[in-house]
């Protein structure tokens, strides 16, 4: 609970001013300041929004900065808002004992993003799951097939315009 009481920092400027020494921020700024679109520090969790085309390089950058463990990746469907899809990557540092969230926002039409499996092979199943349930494609993924639903299934069940019950 202690962490949650820390002040919220919203917006890139505020986060950069409030936590200039954060290793992930330092690494991303040293690599490519333009790739960092937005930032937010809320409830003790740091969220960095990066440009969709640079997610793989951003992942490699934070990995080099000590965030060595890919913990989780999933998508959020913000239908009917735009941009519709959000990808959230949760990355843990075994050395710093801290987690960061990389966030990517994608438009509704043909959502696709570079796969991070070259950086962390463990993202394989997670990206397949997002492809299966949200219909977001991952370029360069070694085996982008449905993982939960049958191969011949139509539609992507975790999208908000997919009904919870009844006929599709």
């Amino acid at each position: 609970m202690g962490e949650a009481n820390q002040a919220t920092l919203s917006g890139k400027a505020e986060v950069l001013a409030g936590m200039p020494d954060h290793p992930a921020i330092v690494a991303i700024l040293a690599w490519q300041p333009d790739a960092l679109l937005d930032a937010r520090f809320d409830r003790g969790e740091l969220t960095l929004t990066v440009a969709p085309e640079s997610i793989r390089d951003a992942a490699a950058t934070v990995q080099a900065a000590g965030y060595n463990f890919f913990e989780d990746m999933t998508a959020v469907d913000w239908f009917p808002s735009a941009p519709r899809f959000q990808l959230s990557y949760h990355i843990l540092s075994h050395r710093l004992l801290e987690r960061i969230r990389l966030r990517v926002l994608l438009d509704e039409a043909g959502p696709a993003v570079e796969s991070i499996t070259p950086v962390w092979p463990g993202a394989d199943y997670y990206e397949r799951e997002v492809f299966d349930l949200f219909g977001i494609r991952f370029e360069g993924h070694p085996n982008l097939r449905r993982i939960m639903m049958p191969d011949e299934w139509q539609g992507h069940p975790l999208r908000k315009d997919y009904p919870v019950e009844g006929y599709r």
Partner: protein, 406 residues
Amino acid sequence: MTDVAGTPILEAPVAEGAKDQHMVLNMGPQHPATHGVLRLVLEIDGEIVVRLYPEIGYLHTGIEKTCEAKFYQQVVPLTDRVNYLDPLSNNLCYCLAVEKLLDLEIPEKAQWLRVLLTELSRLNSHLIWLGTHAMDIGALTVFLYTFREREEILRLLEAVAGQRMMTSYIRIGGLSMEPPIDFLARVQAFIKTLPEKIDEYSNLLTGNPIFRNRLKGVGYLSAADAIALGVTGPPLRASGVDIDLRRDMPYSSYEKFQFKVPVSTDGDTWARYLVRLDEMRESIKIIQQALDGMPEGAVKADAPKIVLPDREKMKTQMEALIHHFKIVTEGFNVPAGEVYQGIECGHGQVGYYVVSDGTAKPWRVHMRYPSFATLQALETMCKGGLLADVVAVIGSIDIVLGEIDR
């Protein structure tokens, strides 16, 4: 043959030269050693595994989709059903995530009872693992011993929650109710005898030459591979990575407990066996500390609009009745935001990612479960090994298909 996405489906290789030596073998989904409905497609060269491809999804029920249609408090029973061998850890992780969104302070006694109960739940999970793992290897007797103790744990869970497996005892804002008066005494009586029971299992297995030969040097996983593939929990620690969220990123007042984190550098199936056996001993120490230092006080947070009132109050006080009615029929609004809460369960790191849009129903609940990631490492562990060792390796990573397929 290709699927809808245009990617080739693994099938028997076409006979050309030496390649036709390889055989494609289907294992599961109805195979007793796959602990559920796991299907493995194996390409074997004689007895040697050349390629292993897990096919999952047979148990997919769309729990994450269901969560989006429920009130926050109605999600708690769903979490039990994801990993049905360690239900209280799931309850805890989800509740901690929502409490973080609500910025809710939990009474100390509830936090300590949560630690005690999740450790009992971890023991439950490890006892099932040990029994079934030994049974897969052929040591059938151990199963009968471990399920004797597991029955005791289920009785304890039934005493607090009224349910043996699907407990739903940990709720948003604390616990569902006070445990029965004799509960702590019963736990004390149980854990007093448990160390010698664990010695008993160890006597049956650790010195057993057949068991040792089946596990030693089998299913090797290096620390670098384990991190790259997202492996967590006992398999990660057996590969020499010293990380345990209970100690390193404490939650629910775990920072007040002293315990060792067993680590081994061997990275094989034997190391995973020893690490889990030691973890059971450490769990007993944590439970003992929780019993000795159990604080006094309430088990529910003082937040009448979020936490259901006690049954007696609901039936005698107007205010409590109104709150009860409001929570049950309308739920409670959770401030907008996104949180990720990670904890250490019996199998590894569980994580709940909860996104709120400010209403009474979660916008998105994502569950990170350890077996899902650990399954990716199965090919690395089994490649180049014997077909018969695949069963030993599956047993050693302790998978639960409910949490893989969700």
